[in-house]
Subunit: 161 residues, 3 copies
């Protein structure tokens, strides 16, 4: 029986084992591009919980949306990120490390459960890339996000030459 | 007739063709420096829409300021960034890629037109450096910014050795 | 008499001269790690003003907390950062440059004294690493931060191979 967390499994194999289907890659809403690679660092544009150009979640966490909604939106944005990385690199297996994950959450009032929301993105990335490629993390509560999104992700990857 | 977007044009030539005059470079408001280069990456301090030490715009976008004001403030902060890069590198032509542009916007209420505001910075950078050097972008709505500024920019450049 | 800012002093010597005792290194609140090194860049997870897993400050600057409280919280988070760097590198003397310091401040209302708060972190880092290793800085006012913290720090260091 296969264990998706065993080290010999690659990110592409885990994606298959976990029966995860990637959405279309996010496309720009302005004068910028989705990825820039410099040396072995791959920077991504801020990733929203979109399918194509349509937001799947709108509102503030702790306001219109619960922490659980926020967690699902973080998962959706992380899924979009995987699609963008795959489009840029051809294969997720070229990722050697997730350097940084930033989780920016539009929040209302005295919301404090940011780590729970952010784990929606972290756990997906860890299940696909494995514990040995796990990132640092910066989690912040924002006043607002583009188009009314509840979540935006920052991602920097280290990639094989 | 000259076309400022033709590939043989350099950033310095485009700046000249577009008749853009750079303001003085921003100077620090505390115990930090405006630029750090590590390898071929150049990191900038958060850039505000200042001339010298004086803010040209104060307030929140969606509150005291309109999206169009925010767009002009983003343009002003991008112009200051060019001045800082030129002071550090000697010539803008040493920039080989804009790796990341972060546009942080002080917002009120339910403001959602972040991409329109951020384009004020993106479009200036693209007109000077050309489409082939265009950056990734992270756009966020903040509760407040230093000194009451409506805009702060994050910039990471790739530079020739 | 020793002068802790003379160039021959190393970060470890200055830490000793300044009689600074490091707290325990922060440990993760979720599915991430505290540090990732890629090439000669060391990225840290967002640093909170914690001792162990307990926040030493809670609230918003300009609301429940004054700018002076915020400054102390920024100092506390910077101290935690030093502990994390030391745990990762073995010695602070392996730091060749602070590339970027981000100071994210949970703020209320029309707070504008962000630079004063951020200096609580910048001044500690400068007193330990020396002026020649001083960072760029990004300072932002947030709607909220994880667990109700008033301060979160972003840090990227350049380290010797």
């Amino acid at each position: 029986m296969k264990n998706p967390t065993e080290p010999q499994h690659t990110a592409e194999q885990r994606l298959h084992d976990l029966k995860i289907t990637l959405p279309p890659a996010q496309s720009p809403f302005g004068a910028y591009v989705e990825t820039v690679q410099t040396g072995n660092l791959l920077f991504l544009t801020g990733m929203l919980p979109v399918v194509g150009r349509e937001l799947k979640f709108v509102g503030r966490v702790g306001g219109e949306l619960t922490a659980e909604d926020g967690r699902k939106a973080a998962y959706a944005a992380a899924l979009t990120s995987l699609a963008v990385v795959k489009e840029h690199l051809g294969s997720l297996d070229r990722v050697t490390r997730i350097v940084r994950l930033g989780v920016f959450i539009a929040t209302s009032g005295d919301f404090r459960e940011h780590p729970k929301v952010a784990d929606g993105a972290s756990e997906l990335l860890e299940s696909v890339f494995g514990k040995d490629k796990t990132s640092t993390r910066i989690v912040l509560g924002m006043a607002s996000l583009p188009l009314g999104a509840p979540i935006e992700l920052e991602l920097i990857f280290e990639v094989a030459p």
